[in-house]
Each structure stands twice: as C-alpha cells, then as structure tokens.
Subunit: 158 residues, 2 copies
DNA sequence: AAACAATATTTGCATTTGCAAATTAATGTC
DNA sequence: GACATTAATTTGCAAATGCAAATATTGTTT
C-alpha cells in the first residue's frame, strides 16, 4: 500500500524545504535570499557566465534568473555586460563586493552541510551525492514519455 | 575549495526541482498541480486531518495550504468541515471524486519513483530513504543556533 | 462571568514566480 | 545585402507564495 510519506519525492522535498528554510533564515540578515545565494555561489565557482547557463546551473527559471540578476546588480553584487563580439548574450560576474559577501556566506553553507550529515557513516555523504547525481540523470529518461503524453492529450485539448 | 555544484543542498534541490517539474507536467492534464497532488495523497494516506497537520505533513506554509484546500474544495475534491466539539479546528477529507482521482495519480507517482531509482543497487532505495529521514531530523539540531543568531542581530535591527 | 491568553484558521497585501509574448541582436539564405 | 530564421534575454501579466494581521473559538484566571 502506497504511503506518500515513504515516497522518495516526498522525502526529498521535505529535506529540501527544511534545509532551504533554515538556511534562508540564517542568511536573512545579509539581506540575501536563498536563490540569490545560489546565483552568487554559482558565479563564485564559475564566473563570466551567460544568463542561460546560470539559470541551468541553479535550476532557476530563465525569467526568474533574469530578474534576480537585476536585483543583485542593483545591490552592486554582480555586473552584467553585453559582450562586444556577441551582443545578444550577456556576461555576468560577481563584483568585488559580491565576492566578499559570498565568501562570508560559503562557510555558513559548509557548516550547514556538516550538521546535516553529522550522523551518516564515513562514506555516507559521498555515496549520497553520487546517488543524487545518478537519479538526476535517470530522470532525464522519463522526459520523452511525458512529452508523448502531453501531445497525445494535453496540448490537443487546449 | 568549495563548489556549489558538489554541495548537498545543491544536489538535493536540483533533483527535487527536476522531479517536481516532470511530475507536474505529467499530471497537468488532470488540472492538478504538484502541491495539490501532495495534499490529496496525504489525505489518502490519512484522512480527517486538520489544516495544521496537513500543512506540516506536506511541508506547505499554513496560508498556502489553507488556500489550496479552498481550491480543492471548489473542485469538489476535498471537504472541509468545522468540528462540532472544537469549532476552531477543521476536518479535511477527500471526497469520493477526490479519492478516485488520487487513486489514478498514485500509480503515476510510483512509476516516477521506479524510473528515478532504476540504476541504484538493490538496497539503494531503502538506504537513501533512511538517510534522507536521518538528515531531516539532524537538521532540527541547527534550529537553536539560527534562532540565537536571529535575536542577536536580525530582529534587533528591525 | 468578564477579561485575558492561547489555539486554529483565514485573509490582506506585497513580493515572487512562471508562462508567453516582446525585444534585441546575430546568423543563414536566396 | 535585404529578409526571414534562430538565439538570448527581458518584460507583461496572471497566479502562487509568505508574512503579518485579523478572525473565531476555546481555555484560564480572578
């Protein structure tokens, strides 16, 4: 018999929501939201990104990312320049101020992770991460099945 | 050196978002959103719930849950009655129509889970689930630390 | 029993989100 | 080289979300 509370999506979501909530509260005093942090940490890892890549990297919707970058720019934390050679793309970077801030936040994120996995066995974390990565790619294989179902009924009815 | 893309919150969020997106698309033709499904599946597992319990069970914010129940009620999928003995609480249940619908959706959710874990070893799923549950509880231990940080600076400044 | 505190839910309002359309720029084609 | 096509980003608008305040009911105190 199926139980929602024992299903994988449920357990994943629950952890994600709680983690997000706690971390958000923790960084609220820096006037930074969780998606903002993700964007900044992504840029810290890899600068000079285009909007689309940044959105993909952070699992953000494109328009959400666009506006988020706008907000971060207004705060002076990132820069957004049209490229000279290809002016339809945009190169996004952390400013010095943004870099300083994210380097203050990253240790907090690391601490969170430490607390979260506190009682896992030695190799538990590495294993968990590889499992999550594996599931992510496996999920891709269900895409066609969904697209098929959509065209078969969904879109047609509109 | 820290990499966002190798951090646990990142990997969790990424899987959660993708899973949610795909499942949402899959059930869109039933005119049901993912949070709606979660509420209905929660009620299927355990009926006669109060709003607060349902919100906790589904990781939804209270006001979001309240409005969601309203929408489901308008669709004739759930009932919401004030109790006679304690009229400040409310008892939420699936209607027959709601029960029928959720019983159509649950197999889809099960299929999703199967695809997601397709390439995990035998005991991989059970292990993953217990790890996720463990992390969820461990996260609770960071709460006081955050509350402390909030009162120390955050709230004071307002 | 009146006043007050506590509990459960709902609602107002501002912010965020997501889709689709619009915009802007670059590229391919004839 | 003008003209449609594709690519990348932004914006308009409606719906969803989250916090705080409002509402309704029960429990407690004196």
């Amino acid at each position: 018999m199926y139980r929602l509370t024992n299903s994988l999506p449920y357990l994943l979501n629950r952890v994600g929501v709680r983690m997000g909530e706690l971390f958000s509260r923790r960084i609220a005093r820096y006037e930074i939201t969780l998606p903002m942090y993700r964007v900044m940490a992504a840029l810290w890892q890899q600068g000079d990104q285009r909007l689309g890549d940044l959105a993909a990297m952070t699992s953000l919707e494109l328009s959400t990312a666009s506006r988020l970058i706008g907000a971060l720019k207004r705060k002076g934390l990132v820069s957004r320049k049209r490229l000279e050679d290809n002016a339809r793309t945009v190169a996004i970077n952390l400013t010095t101020k943004g870099k300083l801030l994210v380097e203050e936040l990253i240790p907090i994120a690391i601490h969170f992770e430490e607390v979260a996995i506190r009682s896992l066995p030695k190799d538990g974390l590495a294993n968990l991460k590889s499992v999550l990565a594996q599931i992510y790619t496996d999920l891709g294989t269900i895409e066609p099945e969904i697209a098929e179902a959509e065209t078969r009924q969904g879109k047609a009815r509109r």
